[in-house]
């Protein structure tokens, strides 16, 4: 019998031969020392390659992506819905991932804040302006999604602050609703249902009262001594226990030290906006989160940026838009040129208690505010 060719040997190593072929080859190997040696060699080579390729892997993000743990029975999942009509966008039922962020060690509140901080630009027009980004504003409204009522701009700018609801986690998705002039509605579910949990250090849960900061700071874990994951898990559970029952006066929060970086966007999970809107945003330490770079958007990083920093964005036109903002001393700007007709301006300022962001498309502008320690993802899909 002729010897086994290299391709077949490697296919055997990779378990890619069908049963008949395999038994024929194995029979040959049993009686042919040379082929058996070559097979051993091929096996070793394949293993070595695996090891070598592994050397190319860059460290995993500090935050691991995993699916949401449970679904909340108590509150109906309320998707965050963006409605577009003649270029005016409405965000309904702002719904953000309390559960996810608890696990991730970032806290936030959900609320609608009528006394929102000034936005970057005032909404002016409702007509579509093809040549320049129209000053449309996304207006979140706490309206029952079932009524499908259209809310016209302008209205107070959204302050997306998220409070961990604790208790059962909820699962939701972001849905785009586009309504054509005829009134027909198209709903496009969009968004990643992912949860984030840290693989490395995570600070202990820090109870925070509505009033502010003092308690939390004294209890914050020191960054140099990362708590273990089980510790963090207990903290999450403690937070959940504390959250059951009537609306709590305190909010448990997990703080992420400044140096903790979150690579991936997190928003899933829904909870109805809370009645209280103020308070917990009081000057907490900013969590660093990452800006997301859009594919097709190249990036330069200046020399001050650590090489392991990650940034990703989705192109806002026709694809999902992800936005994570870094509050603190970072000032980010991104522009797309004309390819997608979109511009991204993200501004954060050190010492401020809120982060302002603005995402612009050809005929929309979305603006919002994030409290520090908050994480937000907005998924928008536009008809191209």
């Amino acid at each position: 019998m002729s010897h086994v060719d290299e391709g077949t040997l490697h296919a055997l190593v990779d378990n890619a031969l069908d049963a008949g072929e395999r038994s024929a080859v194995e029979a040959h190997l049993a009686s042919c020392g040379e082929c058996a040696r070559r097979f051993a060699e091929a096996t070793a080579m394949a293993r070595q390659i695996v090891t070598l390729l592994g050397a190319l892997d860059e460290p995993a993000p500090r935050v691991r992506i995993e699916p949401p743990a449970t679904v909340a029975p108590s509150r109906a999942a309320s998707p965050m819905v963006m409605t577009a009509r003649r270029g005016v966008f409405t965000l309904r039922r702002v719904a953000l991932a309390a559960s996810v962020l608890l696990v991730a060690g970032v806290s936030y509140e959900v609320g609608r804040d009528r006394e929102s901080a000034p936005v970057l630009e005032s909404a002016a027009k409702s007509a579509r302006l093809p040549d320049a980004p129209a000053s449309m504003r996304a207006v979140p409204s706490v309206v029952d999604a079932a009524t499908d009522s259209f809310v016209a701009a302008p209205a107070p700018a959204p302050t997306l602050r998220q409070r961990p609801r604790g208790g059962p986690r909820s699962d939701a998705e972001i849905v785009i609703v586009e309504r054509g002039d005829s009134g027909a509605t198209q709903r496009t579910p969009l968004g990643f249902r992912v949860a984030v949990s840290p693989v490395a250090a995570m600070p202990a849960a820090v109870p925070v009262t509505g009033a502010g900061q003092g308690a939390s700071q004294s209890q914050a874990a020191s960054p140099s001594q990362p708590p273990s994951l089980p510790q963090a898990q207990r903290a999450v559970e403690a937070a959940e226990r504390a959250q059951k029952g009537p609306p709590p006066a305190t909010t448990e929060r997990l703080r992420v030290p400044r140096e903790q970086a979150l690579d991936q966007v997190v928003v899933t999970g829904a909870s109805a906006p809370a009645a209280e809107t103020r308070g917990a945003a009081a000057s907490p330490k900013a969590t660093s989160f990452k800006a997301i770079a859009l594919p097709g958007y190249a990036m330069t990083e200046d020399s001050l940026v650590a090489p392991t920093t990650r940034r990703r964005y989705f192109s806002p036109t026709g694809t999902a838009l992800e936005l994570l903002v870094t509050p603190s001393t970072a000032v980010w700007k991104a522009s797309s040129g004309q390819r997608n007709g979109a511009e991204f301006v993200v501004t954060t300022e050190n010492g401020r208690s809120a982060v302002r962001w603005q995402a612009r498309g050809m005929d929309y502008v979305l603006e919002g505010l994030l409290a520090p320690d908050s994480l937000m993802k907005l998924a928008i899909k536009l008809k191209s």
Binding site: I49, A55, E58, T268, M299
Partner: protein, 168 residues
């Protein structure tokens, strides 16, 4: 019935990013490409996701390489005091980087097709999936892998100063 993007993401995102990171040497770019790839899956849901996603990603990579315009758009970070990279002993870091460079150099010696096949196999693709993702005949995959592995190891070993390697 729409695509369950979340499911797709959960199953394949990490693998895709890893493959692209190995391929490009740049995790940030790999993640951008992965995001673009998933965005396209939303627009045109594939029936056989894994080979499709990887094929699209590899195509995007090829196109991107050719299109200088994609590099025009810029994100400029003015300053970022928040980020702290994980600490490593200097000699560890050096060694790791050395190895990394050698492996990248070895990988670069392969033809694009051989390289893609190797990387897909390393992501656990079976031969059928590799064939589908690359457009190669299934029967040729074994031979391609044999060649790619051999070549890569040759180059890698030679990169080690060459003094202990018998050339032949």
């Amino acid at each position: 019935m729409g695509l369950d993007l979340g499911e797709l993401f959960r199953e394949y995102h990490e693998s895709l990013v890893r493959m692209l990171t190995r391929r490009t040497g740049d995790r940030g770019r790999a993640e951008e490409l992965a995001q673009e790839t998933f965005a396209r899956a939303v627009a045109a849901p594939p029936t056989n996701p894994r080979p499709w996603l990887f094929a699209v990603a590899l195509n995007l990579l090829r196109e991107e390489g050719r299109n200088a315009a994609t590099r025009e758009r810029r994100l400029v970070l003015v300053k970022d005091e928040d980020h702290v990279a994980p600490y490593e002993q200097p000699d560890e870091a050096y060694e790791r980087e050395e190895t990394r460079l050698r492996v990248r150099a070895a990988l670069a010696q392969l033809s694009e097709r051989d390289r893609d096949v190797l990387l897909l196999q390393a992501e656990g693709f079976d031969y059928d999936e590799i064939a589908e993702a690359t457009g190669l005949a299934r029967g040729a995959i074994g031979t391609t892998l044999a060649r790619a592995r051999k070549r890569m190891l040759e180059v890698y070993t030679q990169g080690e100063g060459g003094s202990h390697v018998a050339r032949g």
